[in-house]
Symmetry: C2
DNA sequence: AGACTAAATAGTAATGGTTATTATTTAGTG
DNA sequence: CACTAAATAATAACCATTACTATTTAGTCT
């Protein structure tokens, strides 16, 4: 039974990337956010307090590399980019519900792409993104109590 | 038969916003992109060549105001924000197909929200976004010819 | 174990989209 | 025409991200 980090390290090796302390530290941190999006700049700040002397460049570069390997998922937001650990190495197709209070991500089943495809004759579909926003069950309950 | 700009101006008045030269110029420009997303920074650059002395602040502030009025639609992208004129003042619910070559936006019918809602017991859904990417019919044809 | 080499990193500075600040101007109103 | 709140111009600042380059290091080969 491989841990997520062991799986990730295996993927790095498979792609001839060196297993540096910095990359391991990054993975260790990101794996704690498997189902939440975090701002890359917050990851940057955190890593640089943990390891004084770690360079911005290293963090941003590795996050991008990890994304191309499928280890992470990136998402553009106003003024910054969010990152989430991608535990699903099989790349199963799914979509997301994102809690706007705590940031928790829930995977959703079902995909209506076929229905839309029928509305786009002659077009070439290369990708799509479906995202639902709101409060997760826990945050919905909390909100009800505090009001 | 009101033009889109007349409609927009009416909305500004209705919200006690002043009809300035700058706002009119912005609307005039944005209305030419009714079905395409443009980078706000590109709008900024364009407006400042057309009207020397127009301030960044004025452009960004007004675009945000227009968005809250429902005149525009904003979309976060890596490193910048895109804007699209929202001609649909009735706020009919729909989703988008975006051509990644020419930027053309096609509105799509149908929304699978109900299906997803059933997967989120106890949650509060506040919004959602569905976007499909690819090449529009015209760009698909062009690509076929050039290859 | 030691040497080698390409890859990775640190340290620093720059970039660029966006926002803040404040004095000045202006649209709408009476 | 005068008045006033709102809007703008002209900066400068902010801050996430990227660029640059000298130095270090992981992996490999003896």
């Amino acid at each position: 039974m491989e841990t997520p980090i062991e799986q990730a390290v295996a993927i790095l090796r498979r792609n001839q990337l060196k297993i540096t302390k910095q990359r391991q530290a990054l993975l260790d941190y990101l794996v704690t956010y498997q189902d939440h999006y975090v701002a890359i700049s917050a990851v940057d700040e955190h890593m640089r307090t943990l390891f004084a002397g770690m360079s911005h460049n290293t963090i941003y570069r590795n996050i991008k590399e990890f994304e191309t390997l499928g280890l992470l998922e990136l998402k553009a937001q106003a003024n910054q980019t969010l990152v989430k650990y991608q535990c699903d190495f099989k790349h199963q197709h799914h979509h997301h519900f994102v809690c706007s209070n705590c940031g928790k991500v829930t995977e959703l089943q079902a995909c209506p792409l076929d229905e839309y495809e029928a509305q786009l004759p002659g077009c070439t579909i290369t990708g799509h993104r479906i995202e639902i926003y709101g409060l997760c069950a826990a945050c919905t309950t909390k909100q009800a109590i505090n009001s």
